[in-house]
Amino acid sequence: MTDPIAGRAGGPSLRQRRQRAAFWFLAPMLFALLCVAAWPLARTIWFSLTNTTLSNLYGGEWIGFDNYLSMRTLSSGRVVWRGTLVDPAWWNAVWNTVRFSLISVGFETVLGLIVALVLNAEFRGRALVRAAILIPWAIPTIVSAKMWAWMLNDQFGILNDILLRLGLIGEKIAWTASTETAMTAVLIVDIWKTTPFMALLILAGLQMVPRDIYEAARIDGVHPVRVFFRVTLPLIKPALMVAVIFRMLDALRIFDLIYVLTPNSAATKTMSVISRENMIDFDKFAYGAAQSTLLFAIIAVFVSAYIWLGRVDLGGEGSK
């Protein structure tokens, strides 16, 4: 945006006045963010370097990086490693989180793309379909977790009933309780819940593609599949990338669905779940803080890579 105002009426003094006003307009918001984001984050990192416990928040002592990794040599000469980085439970959570994020975002992208393509076509009842796909998005995560927990119930669940009737399974499956299927259950619910969001973001990208391109391709007799891969996909790639990154960041920090759908299952415990568990439930406050700091670091690296790679025009100053 250019600033034609400054030069025209009153010269630089008006611009200065506007900038001063801007500062005072921004100050309350910045102060609020400082209080709820920057300060707590700094304190979390600080706690991760101490041995603070939940019952005694101010009694922690500085122990350096021992929550992350420490080495001690016993008198017998044996070397003992301790800390999150050698904790199998932590690495299990990392693996669960990565697996969950990649699979769920992968499915959501493909399904979201299909739904978006359908919604981008002209047909009767389109408004109705768009309204229908908004329903999973509008339902609170906890509620959808409970709804699906009931549908996935081993004894009385409708999903087992359907699959049995269709002859796809031989006996009832304990979806959420069994370690083999717990992750599948979580993935089903997450994909159901967030594909609409993905579809809407992709649809917004699709609607920016000029219709004449399709028209031209049709007249030239190009096969629709070819048009999709050669024309549509490259054109919506920016919108698609943004949607994927947003979902990825969301998936990496998942907590509520897993906490409610498969409580205490090692097969689904993610980084957020294990951090909170240590922090609040196991009275290993500092240890949990170290784990959440690690998660923050992973996401921070991911975000900077995205901003750097995508060179996204965040300030809206592309013309400059």
Partner: protein, 277 residues
């Protein structure tokens, strides 16, 4: 050729049908279950099996659930109000005034909205304890600001950037101060954007679980998601599915109605938050 076309059409509508059924069925099934009690609950019913209101009576008869609805309404409204108030002035500055570091500031705000909430949990827990607001509404109002405020600022900034310069110029020529420009010139134009942002922030605050779970300790202070999430029986076999489904339907229906009414605005707001970046 026409037969080929017909087949294509049928396939397309079949796909549409699958999408609709897959989206709507779980909620439909929750509604069906919420009206079943006793032994009817433990038969798999594909169609409504009756109209038994006992589950609803059980849920609405419990004081704590009513408290939860009140808590959630109060907290979400206060959070949205606070975020909009702080967000409007801030986004005016970010969208309309040129100053050094503006791009960096916007980027920081976007980064905060992508924050994993768990990363601030320990620090916020200490802050909440320090301020003496543990297990009060304030704990949630304060902590929800971390995701509603950046979102509000970001979306309002994109909306405000699209408003024509001429309006503001005219006001400046008339000698209006920035505060007057915001309250008298931009605010009336921003209402639609504020409704959208407010609604999305409200849904976010209404659905939040992690902070509400951690910062409350008594049943009467719980928000709706925590109340539903922790509603359980004495054992695995005694989970009160009927009342859980009734509670789910009660808290979801208003949201669905809101979302369907404001469909277009919500889609616009979501994409402004995402794609326009």
């Amino acid at each position: 050729m026409t037969r080929h076309k017909l087949l294509k059409r049928i396939a397309f509508y079949a796909l549409v049908a699958v999408i609709v059924v897959f989206s709507v069925f779980p909620f439909y099934y929750a509604v069906v279950t919420s009206f079943a009690s006793g032994t009817a609950l433990f038969r798999v019913n594909y169609l409504p099996a009756g109209f038994d209101l006992r589950n609803y009576q059980a849920v609405l008869g419990s004081k704590n659930f009513l408290y939860s609805i009140g808590n959630s309404l109060l907290i979400a409204t206060a959070t949205v109000g606070l975020s909009l108030f702080l967000g409007v002035t801030a986004s005016y500055a970010l969208a309309r005034v040129r100053f050094r570091g503006r791009g960096l500031l916007l980027m920081t705000i976007l980064a905060v909205s992508m924050f994993p909430q768990i990363a601030v949990l320990a620090g916020l827990f200490e802050l909440v304890r320090f301020l003496g607001i543990f297990n009060t509404h304030w704990a949630m109002i304060l902590s929800y600001t971390i995701f509603t405020l950046p979102f509000t600022v970001w979306v309002l900034t994109t909306f405000m950037r699209d408003l024509p310069v001429e309006i503001e110029e005219a006001a400046i020529v008339d000698g209006a101060s920035p505060w007057i420009i915001i309250t008298r010139v931009f605010l009336p134009l921003l209402w639609p954007a504020m409704v959208t942002t407010g609604l999305l922030a409200f849904i976010g605050a209404w659905n939040e679980f992690l902070f509400a779970l951690t910062f409350t300790s008594t049943e009467s202070m719980r928000t709706v998601p925590v109340a539903i999430g922790l509603l359980s029986g004495a054992s695995e076999q005694e989970i009160p599915w009927g009342p859980i489904m009734a509670a789910s339907v009660i808290v979801t229906v208003p949201l669905i109605v809101l979302v369907l009414i404001f469909q277009r605005k919500i889609v616009a707001g979501l994409t402004a938050g995402g794609v326009k970046g």
